[in-house]
């Protein structure tokens, strides 16, 4: 009895710093967001900030649509890529992993600026088009450019978790499926996809969450014409100094993200009863 007590005391002491850290940097800010969301500038309770949200229905819808689109496109590119990668020799795999991670060593801002340079009216693409006598294209300021920015910036977060699962998959399982009569498509649908589901789910979350809350990509590649929910929050806090509305927007975004994650997690568990799926 005494022994257990001492042990729990020790665990408590070991956990202490982390609990303190989470309290100061996670729990307290969350409460502050909630506090700001339900108060006005004088600190009195109000529903006003929540009511104001209806003004941003469309922004929410566009953010959702673009981030979903970006997630789907990212997945469609990443899965075959990760599969291809997992079938290469060990040295080729290391090289490819390095190449995927390399852009991530550069700052997001610089990467996005480069895309501005490429897509601008006087950018690289339009220069090339001009050289071969074609009309310049309008790319900056379109939804396409914003989605492209999301896909480009977040694709490593989709490829890596899927690749990690695929590379660990026992090749004998695929041979067994083939041996039992499965063509490549059947193998893909009944073995490869279901078994890589945990990786796919983490990939989806890791692309969807930053996409739906981004503001920088849409500011730069949206050319000021495309406002996402992140831009609105950014503007309320940085420009309008309306912390209260900013907080209520953040709160709703957060609740929305948590709900979609819970939903995904459920979907993952239904298919894979034995192992829960680790998200994030």
């Amino acid at each position: 009895m005494k022994h257990t007590n001492r042990r729990s005391l020790r665990t408590g002491l070991l956990n202490g710093p982390y609990l303190l850290w989470s309290a100061i940097f996670i729990v307290v800010p969350l409460f502050m967001i909630a506090y700001y969301a339900f108060t006005d500038s004088s600190g009195a309770f109000t529903w006003e900030n929540i009511r104001m949200l209806t003004l941003y229905k469309e922004t929410f819808a566009i953010s959702l649509w673009y981030s979903l689109l970006a997630t789907v496109i990212t997945f469609i590119i990443s899965f075959p890529f990760a599969y291809f990668m997992s079938r290469r020799s060990a040295s080729a795999q290391r090289m490819m992993t390095l190449l995927i991670m390399l852009p991530m060593w550069m700052n997001l801002l610089i990467r996005t600026y480069s895309w501005m340079n490429i897509l601008e009216r006087n950018g690289i693409i339009n220069n090339i088009l001009g050289l071969i006598g074609l009309e310049p294209l309008k790319m900056i300021g379109t939804g396409g450019a914003v989605v492209l920015g999301m896909v480009y910036n977040y694709i490593p977060y989709m490829i890596i978790p899927i690749y990690t699962i695929l590379v660990k998959m026992d090749p004998a399982l695929l041979e067994a499926a083939e041996d039992l009569g499965a063509s490549f498509l059947v193998k893909l649908r009944r073995i490869i996809l279901p078994l890589s589901l945990p990786g796919i789910l983490s990939g989806i979350i890791m692309v969807f969450v930053p996409s739906i809350s981004t503001f920088y990509i849409s500011q730069k590649l949206g050319g000021g014409k495309i406002m996402l929910i992140g831009d609105v929050i950014d503007r309320q806090i940085q420009t309008a100094y309306n912390y209260n509305l900013g907080a209520s927007l953040s709160l709703v975004l957060m609740v929305f993200i948590l709900l979609s994650m819970a939903l995904l997690n459920r979907a993952g568990k239904d298919d894979n009863e034995d192992e829960g799926v680790m998200l994030i």
Binding site: D170, A172, L173, E175, A176, A177, E178, D179, L180, G181, A182, S183, V186, R190, I191, P194, L195, D271, N272, E273, D274
Partner: protein, 373 residues
């Protein structure tokens, strides 16, 4: 199809990985309905041979024939074979039922028929009531049975088994050996079994194919392989063997260890250099004055059923297995009767496998170690 007819033929198969020759002009015919074992050390090419038959691997050169039809390039899912994998390769996201139903479902058999077939298979492998069980929660033996059911439900003409018992403990392995043997007799289909365990090969097979360095060394019944090994490699690999240099005097007369012996072998040139195999259990220890050969006991090891006795005869250490105890240091005689002697032609393996001197060294080292403690 008739028994005795070849169901699978491999002709001049060559395979290399990264420039290393794994199979070297391999030729092999497998008769319908046989239990054939590919036996050899790891790296001898036995699993590669199996993978070529299954279709997971295409040979660099050579032909694979099923019922005299060339099968090169035919994908695994179109071949009338099924495989039991080394670690069973059960699908972890499916339960027992869905694992077994995989094959028929891919072939779009109606679900009602599948249910009936799966139930039948489960009964066949003694796993009734396990339908809904996750395969990850089964014991090794049960997983093995699921793998067998999953393969056999497709009614293959040939079942390929890649060291299927390697992951099981000794007791279970013995039981499963009997079970697999009975299964093969019951079904009457061809089993091609890969193992490195010579005892397993001898006790289960109709035909044993001894492989080494990507080639077939010898094909025969277990008795033939054991009693009439074709060369020193096979003699050494299968069981224990005293392998000596000898000279054929005439038909039925051979000289080794400085003594003339009667033997049952003929067809050699007079004076031809040969390798002699004498199995340890075929030698009798007799009083020195009655022995054909005389030597000194250098070590005795108790093995339960019998003693393994090392006798030094003119510098060559013989191993003899006997139920009688003989003390170390005693002079004894050996009696080697004609049917104990097997004469082999010289091969590239001659001289590689010699006497049991290293064996007794090991024993000496062991006893030294225990003395130190």
């Amino acid at each position: 199809m008739l028994k005795e007819q070849n169901i699978i033929e491999l002709r001049d198969i060559c395979v290399s990985f990264d420039g290393e020759q794994v199979l070297n002009n391999l030729n092999l015919s497998i008769r319908n309905g046989e239990f054939v074992t590919l036996l050899g050390r790891s790296g001898c090419g036995k699993t590669t041979t199996l993978r070529i038959i299954a279709g997971f691997l295409e040979p660099d050169a050579g032909d694979i024939l099923f019922d005299s039809n060339r099968m090169n390039g035919v994908p695994p899912y179109e071949r009338p074979v099924n495989t039991i994998f080394q670690r069973y390769a059960l699908f972890p996201h499916y339960n027992v039922y869905d694992n077994i139903a995989f094959g028929p479902r891919v072939r779009k058999v109606p679900e009602k028929e599948i249910k009936q077939q799966v139930t039948e298979m489960l009964k066949f492998v003694n796993l009734q009531g396990f339908e809904k069980r996750s395969v990850n929660l089964l014991s090794g033996g049960q997983q093995q049975r699921v793998a067998i059911a999953r393969a056999l439900i497709n009614r293959p003409q040939v079942l390929l088994l890649d060291e299927p018992l390697a992951a099981l403990d000794l007791k279970l392995r013995k039981d499963m050996q009997n079970e697999l043997r009975n299964l093969q007799r019951q079904l009457g289909i061809t089993f091609i079994y890969v193992t490195h365990d010579q005892e397993e090969a001898l006790s289960m097979s109709d035909t044993v194919v001894v492989m080494n360095e990507g080639r077939v060394e010898q094909i025969g019944t277990p008795l033939e392989i054991y009693n009439e090994p074709i060369n020193a490699f096979v003699a050494d690999f299968i069981g224990e063997a005293n392998i000596l240099d000898g000279t054929m005097n005439n038909d039925y007369r051979v000289n080794f260890s400085g003594h003339d012996f009667q033997c049952l072998d003929k067809g050699f040139k007079p004076g031809e250099e040969v390798d002699i195999v004498v199995r340890p259990e075929d030698v009798d220890i007799v009083p020195p004055e009655e022995g054909m050969l005389i030597g000194e006991v250098t070590s005795v090891t108790f093995r339960g059923v019998l003693f393994e006795i090392i006798v030094d005869i003119g510098g060559f250490k013989w191993m003899i297995q006997t139920t009688d105890y003989h003390e170390t240091g005693h002079r004894v005689g050996l009696s080697v009767l004609p049917d104990a002697i097997h004469v082999m032609r010289k091969s590239k393996y001659s001289g590689l496998y010699g006497d049991f001197s290293s064996y007794s060294d090991e024993i000496d080292q062991l006893s030294e170690l225990t003395e130190d403690e």
